[in-house]
């Protein structure tokens, strides 16, 4: 229920301009909210005199069946989809097929329509497209207003978000706006016999896994870190079905103002999240100068360089290279752990790598429990020897 307190309302009209769905009008210099209202809350936030309020009721369990379809939030920046989007579409396809319901992508931006084909090629049946100049770049307020409204109108059963910086900002804000449950950083998603979304995630610093349901509210919302699921092979023969949504955004409804965007080029050429090969460093390297050994090896392999939490905390390496629970989750073809003991918080960030190699002087180090190939010994001798041997083999092949 949305209510306008007529005594407080000054008839300023800000709500009319802020409404993404054209539901607010003025009549006798007072705000009137019409049937097009989706309860998205944009007017509540912009009203300077707090005259508009929304009373939300929890969804009636018997009405949960009205919510249908699996949605993937198609995060884009600078005209490119985040890599996690195709991973979510791959998983979303499986979930949608189990439910025998459609898989859709929801795309917000400005002039973003050309990304629709890509979304369909990666498994989507349909693309909901909301374009507006004010959606050119991400702001919490505009994206929350628009996405909440679209969800309320189209009633999907499941909405998946990538756990990127902005995904982890948007998902909880939308969840709180809609008063629905949200599960962070899922590593497993499935549909059970009751057609509910089963969300599995690490808990207690990755020491245990928990399976979580969202029984009472819809949509069921979850975030997933990049590199957790594999993308489906793209099929470019599918034709995009695009539903363009009529929306409006008043820039004044955006309460934050981005005055500058600074791009910091990472010191390392390849980011750990995207790399196929990673050489990762731990405390066993003893001092930051010794990172050179790992960098040499990485250069030989054309691999990215990562690190464990202790060395990032010690300032040897910037945070964006950190692998583990409080850093990045990676899933490369090859992960070489140099002097990393393998605390559980590290293991949860790299255990899905295809092949894990560990070099450590301590034969009891837990990293050896996950390593496909472990070398027990002095890494200061083994790492250079390995780099040499790889160079030798590579030059032989030429």
């Amino acid at each position: 229920m949305i209510k306008v307190d007529l005594e407080k309302c000054t008839g300023c009209g800000l709500c009319v301009k802020a409404c993404p769905f054209g539901a607010a009008t003025l009549s006798d210099k007072k705000a009137v909210i019409g049937d097009a209202c989706t309860l998205c809350g944009a007017c509540v936030n912009i009203c300077p005199v707090e005259a508009i309020s929304i009373e939300r009721k929890r969804v009636d369990v018997s009405k949960l069946a009205d919510y249908k379809g699996v949605w993937v939030y198609a995060e884009q920046a600078d005209g490119k989809l985040r890599s996690v989007v195709s991973e979510l579409l791959g998983k979303g396809r499986t979930l949608a097929d189990k439910l025998e319901e459609p898989l859709s992508a929801v795309l917000l931006g400005n002039n973003a329509s050309e990304l629709a084909d890509e979304l369909v090629a990666h498994g989507g049946d349909k693309v909901y497209l909301a374009e507006h100049p004010a959606l050119e770049r991400y702001t919490t307020d505009a994206y929350t207003d628009v996405l909440s409204g679209i969800i309320l109108r189209h009633k999907p059963s499941v909405v998946l978000f990538g756990a990127t910086t902005n995904g982890r900002d948007l998902a909880p804000t939308v969840a709180a706006r809609l008063q629905v449950g949200l599960t962070a950083d899922c590593t497993g998603l499935d549909i059970n016999d009751e057609r509910q979304l089963v969300q599995t995630r690490p808990a207690f610093g990755g020491n245990i896994m928990a399976s979580i349901l969202t029984p009472y509210t819809r949509p069921q919302m979850a975030t997933v870190r990049p590199n957790v699921f594999k993308p489906a092979k793209p099929d470019s023969s599918k034709k995009a079905v695009v539903e363009r949504l009529k929306i409006n955004v008043d820039p004044r409804a955006i309460r934050t103002k981005t005055v500058e965007t600074v791009k910091e080029v990472p010191a390392e050429a390849v980011s750990v999240e995207e790399a196929d090969l990673i050489v990762s460093c731990g405390r066993g390297l003893k001092s930051p100068e010794n990172l050179e050994l790992a960098r040499d090896l990485a250069e030989t392999l054309q691999a990215a360089v990562g690190g464990s939490r202790p060395i990032v905390d010690a300032g040897w390496m910037p945070h964006h290279q950190q692998v583990g629970q409080s850093g990045k989750t990676v899933s490369p073809k090859l992960y070489i752990a140099c002097g990393i003991s393998g605390a559980i918080q590290h293991l949860v960030g790299m255990r899905t790598s295809d092949i894990i190699v560990a070099v450590n002087s301590d034969p009891e180090a837990p990293i050896f429990n996950v390593a496909d190939f472990g070398v027990v010994g002095d890494l200061f001798k083994i790492i250079p020897a390995l780099a040499e041997e790889i160079k030798r083999v590579k030059s032989e092949r030429k």
Binding site: A171, R177, F204
Partner: protein, 262 residues
Amino acid sequence: MDIVVCIKQVPEITEVKIDPETRTLIRNGVPSIVNPFDEIAVEEAVRIKERVGATVTVVTMGPPQARDALLKCLAMGADKAVLITDRAFAGADTWATAYTLSQVIKKMSYDVVFCGKQAIDGDTAQVGPELAELLGIPHITYVRKVELHQDLKKVIIHRETDEGYDVVECKLPVLLTAIKGLNEPRLPSLMNILASNRKEIKTITVADIGGDPEQYGLAGSLTQVVEVFTPEPRGKGIKVDGSNPEDAAKQLVQFLFEKNLL
């Protein structure tokens, strides 16, 4: 200026071990600490207080022993503390936690609400944005620099992004979530630790907040944990002795070659 900082007492997870026999958590003897990101939030609030003058109130929801975490924050320079504690609050998910905090904080005076980016035990990073939404105020996550405009009515924030950072301005009130790199939290002096015992810690129970008890704790949670299990171990791999580095390197390169990785 009034600053509210939300903190959580968490187990020092790097100390948590798994019993190899039963594959369950060994919780005995695991020390409790103030969530490190929350400590950064407290530090930033105290620094603002030292620069421009402010009253800093730390708020936590937790068991009675979470009082220790509040004492630490008071020793760091916070002025007042609120302990929201009641068995009715137990088992809360992020929604129920944010809801409970919002019910308490909306009755307080605040210009800035600080949270840590996330707690190191749950790692969800959800409570901050959910709380802001329930309070009806804007928020900025992943904050690594805070500047106050000289009129004290606006903040200028450096917000970390996946590519670098954005400079974001916002009028107060605002909720900010702190990341590493915002500051280095201080170690409280012995004097301040002693003085913290004289500061006020207010206790709030479900009866004090009022409202429907079904909204709080496990009953009010929108997500429900239905199963907990330990992750599957990976299969055993090859382990070689590296006392002859050249020899070990040869074996490893052969292995990588077979796996088509070179």
